[in-house]
Symmetry: C2
Subunit: 317 residues, 2 copies
């Protein structure tokens, strides 16, 4: 396997790396803010960083893969929407980068890239059917089905964050309502928690946040759990129950060999994973509730490694 460059467009940084055999050999990054003026700035930023990376590397870079936090039409690699870049609409990023970089390029959704990475080198190794979930500001998903990354002709797929919990619920920007993301996406989760505190719920969280409820972070909730804080524990229990409920639908449909959960919120560990597993056991069709739910292994590198795998995919076609 030759080296590929992975590009992971995140909320804060655009990370790049030269990847070989699942190892990141050289890294670069630049602030996402510098490209927020539009797709053209993003293209320039990526081209400059890829050239600089290649210049610093003795080996041969055979392909480039890009993971985008948004909707991507594959295999053309047309980015329909991108969470952190303004003015984005149906940008043919793949063909543009291909022309300028002179190597095969593959652009896809960032959670699809993460799923590929965890499947090949992380917590999903060795299985045929895998469901990956990321819990962060958004709730995303990626499926490996029949030993292959699953993609649809229409763009979005594996959109676990937009599966409805119930018959009614809050409207969602996706056009639906009662979507999982509206309950356990970072922002909504903390908003629900703040509302409880404002209504007088007792907790150590306000003190941990220096009295500023708007400064509470998921990491503070984790810390409060370790201190035995009831409200903090309940926050993860309620989120885990909602996530487990949606996963019970996913396993009833796809019956994967394993479920891997990553993203910032997954750092809550057992406080979150136990309620997820319990709900899955209670709600999924027998015997699918026993499917293992495990934390992702590659952490912050999953996006980079997965993007590089996307690039290699382009090479093999």
């Amino acid at each position: 396997m030759k080296a590929a460059i992975g590009v992971d467009i995140g909320g804060t940084d655009v990370k790049l790396g030269i990847v070989r055999h699942g190892q990141v050999l050289v890294r670069r990054s630049f602030p996402t803010a510098s490209i927020s003026s539009g797709p053209k700035a993003l293209e320039e930023g990526i081209v400059a960083a890829v050239r600089s990376l290649r210049g610093s590397f003795r080996g041969k870079v055979e392909s480039v893969g890009v993971g985008v936090p948004g909707l991507v039409r594959v295999p053309q690699g047309i980015v329909q929407t991108c969470a952190n870049v303004k003015g984005w609409k149906n940008v043919p990023l793949q063909s543009r980068l291909r022309r300028r970089l002179g190597v095969p390029v593959r652009v896809d959704n960032d959670v699809h890239a993460m799923a590929l990475a965890e499947w090949r080198y992380g917590a999903g190794r060795g299985v045929r059917n895998l469901v990956c979930v990321t819990l962060g500001t958004g709730v995303g998903g990626g499926f490996i089905l029949n030993g292959k990354l699953y993609r649809s002709r229409l763009g979005p797929s594996a959109e676990i964050g937009h599966v409805a919990i119930g018959e009614t619920g809050p409207a969602c920007s996706c056009g639906g309502s009662a979507c999982l993301e509206r309950y356990v996406g970072n922002r909504d989760l903390l908003r629900i928690l703040r509302r409880k505190l404002e209504s007088g719920a007792k907790s150590r969280l306000p003190r941990l946040a220096g009295g500023r409820l708007d400064r509470i972070t998921p990491e503070m909730v984790d810390r409060a759990c370790e201190m035995g804080d009831r409200l903090a524990i309940e926050t993860w229990e309620e989120a885990g129950c909602k996530i487990g409920l949606v996963l019970s639908k996913v396993v009833t449909l796809l019956s994967p060999d394993r479920i891997v959960i990553g993203g910032g919120l997954s750092r809550a560990g057992r406080w979150l994973f136990e309620p997820i597993r319990k709900t899955l056991r209670e709600r999924a069709m027998h015997p699918l509730g026993k499917i293992p739910v495990v934390p992702a292994k590659l952490g912050m590198s999953a996006g980079l490694i997965g993007a590089a795998l996307l690039g290699q995919e382009a090479l093999n076609e």
Copy 2:
């Protein structure tokens, strides 16, 4: 393509047919009641009928496929449960039939077989990703993903009838609760309707059923709809809303090119399909609500043709 024998185990009859190019050339059937004494009786019944069919056919039969209304572990073809046969538990039907019939045999779930048939010869032709649903006593599903019948290592998959509608709801025999089947499966649908009539709801249905509420059938509900009966129309509207709600989850995850709906209840036509399509448009992630929802085309033959396709699959491996 050579001829294959398809075997479709239904609630009333076990149907068999010699199939070539999606056409049923010769048919046989025997009553399911005759095999209800157990797996051994089923095996004998199938072997006798297959031998009789082969005897009556001049061409060569190269394989046999069997569609079972229950949970089947593939590719071994071990039948874990079967809806119409008593005392069934982990029966290696595929290897037994193979030994006795001397040709490749493939045993799988009957709705998976139906999905294969509709994809190759029916309403799902020409697409890469297809979701099939059957609405009858049970609510089943079958997926074609990446141009291949999707199967899991654990047995059940595409179990659309066991996807939960809401956070709470009636318990289901599958171990979950609030399952779609508990609302729109034939028996539960008619039970909900009877309860409304017993509570005084006005309708022509009691008269159509000769005053016997327990004799109301889905066909009578269709007829009452044509007469403009409000309760009958409402029955399909409510069922369509529930089905559409579950399909909105399915498309958010799989974003298929098309959805095909078959089975007895699907004969309700537009009375059922319009509420399904409306709910899907309202509840699915944009733009997935526009995915076409179409009726199955092969009717009662889908099971037979699909089972024969299973047999051919065994041949190609």
